[in-house]
């Protein structure tokens, strides 16, 4: 199993994807440390993971 990667939607870095990822799995981009969600498989597509109550943050 060659390690696979997917682009980080925020900083474009190559994010390592663990073997047999699952939909909605949470990953973290090591370079910009944004939380990412696996939105699609084959190929793996990453998107920013929603905050729990994102609009409560600010």
């Amino acid at each position: 199993m060659t390690a696979s990667y997917a682009p980080c939607p925020v900083c474009d870095a190559e994010v390592p994807v663990p073997p047999n990822p699952v939909l909605s799995e949470l990953l973290v981009c090591e370079s910009c440390s944004v939380a990412l969600e696996v939105r699609a498989l084959d190929p793996v597509v990453l998107d920013e993971a929603p905050q729990e109550e994102e609009d409560w943050g600010q």
């Binding site: 969600e37 993971a49 905050q51 729990e52 109550e53 994102e54």
Partner: protein, 263 residues
């Protein structure tokens, strides 16, 4: 119209509130919580409530199926109908509604919750949401016919499912729709406490800016309440009071300036 938010603690004086409402000659919209009853019921039933602290420091209980059942029993069943009963016994024809009833409070389901599955973390959509729309027509229909709406969670999500939400945000949404002359938050303290550990430190009044500063570094749950009160203030000129819901006449006290007034 006066909007009254009744906290969910055991110390709230429903009988006194009912008497005050009976004596008030303007329309009243009541929103109430019941977290003390929910937690007690959870304990009695051996159901474990999972409290999550979101990335941005807001605390919330994971709204999974068991929690929804507890909420329906404690909020919509027990507490809602006991408040309706207390009001009816004093001649106030209250009508108890959750957000589901007549879709009176509709909202959007929240984004995901982080859940650990084996060595992974997977995002889980739980059953919580933000209130977005009020069915003002139904509330006006009831108020005009002399009824007092008594509202509580759950609310309805975009597909009509029951979802948990924050009652204080329901109050803010109601204020945006009804522009009540005043919004009273009845809590188990004499008002907004400068020092949360000192019951005698209730502040007489607060400006919006002072409230905004306090909200920035308030702890989890309480921060959400202050944030919702701020939203109430943004909806237009209103007189907001945070007053002692344990007093013999909590609403009359609040309307006569007792507790913390925010303008």
């Amino acid at each position: 119209v006066v909007i009254v938010k009744v906290g969910g603690g055991k110390g709230l004086n429903l009988e006194g509130l009912a008497e005050d409402v009976a004596r008030l000659d303007e329309g009243v919209l009541i929103v109430h919580g019941a977290n003390a009853w929910r937690d007690e019921l959870a304990e009695r039933l051996g159901v474990r409530l999972e409290v999550l602290t979101s990335a941005s420091g807001y605390a919330s209980v994971l709204s999974d199926e068991p929690l929804m059942e507890l909420m329906l029993m404690a909020y919509a069943g027990l507490r809602n109908k006991r408040l309706v009963e207390a009001l009816l016994r004093r001649g106030v024809r209250a009508v108890g509604l959750t957000g589901l009833d007549g879709a009176v409070i509709r909202g959007r389901r929240n984004a995901a919750i982080r859940a650990r599955e084996g060595d992974r973390i997977v995002l889980k959509r739980d059953l919580s949401g933000k209130p977005r729309e009020v069915n003002a027509a139904l509330l006006h229909l009831l108020l005009a016919a002399g009824y007092t709406p008594v509202l509580t969670v759950p609310i309805a999500d975009e597909n009509g499912f029951a979802v948990n939400s924050e009652n204080d945000e329901v109050v803010a949404l109601l204020q945006e729709t009804f522009r009540a002359r005043c919004v009273v938050h009845l809590i188990e303290a004499e008002g907004f406490l400068a020092d949360r550990s000192d019951p005698a430190s209730a502040i007489a009044s607060l400006s919006r800016d002072e409230l905004a500063r306090l909200e920035a570094d308030a702890p989890g749950r309480f921060r959400r309440k202050l944030r919702a009160i701020l939203r109430t203030l943004e909806a237009g000129p209103v007189w907001v009071a945070i007053a002692d819901g344990r007093a013999p006449h909590p609403l009359e006290g609040a309307l006569s300036g007792k507790g913390t007034v925010i303008q």
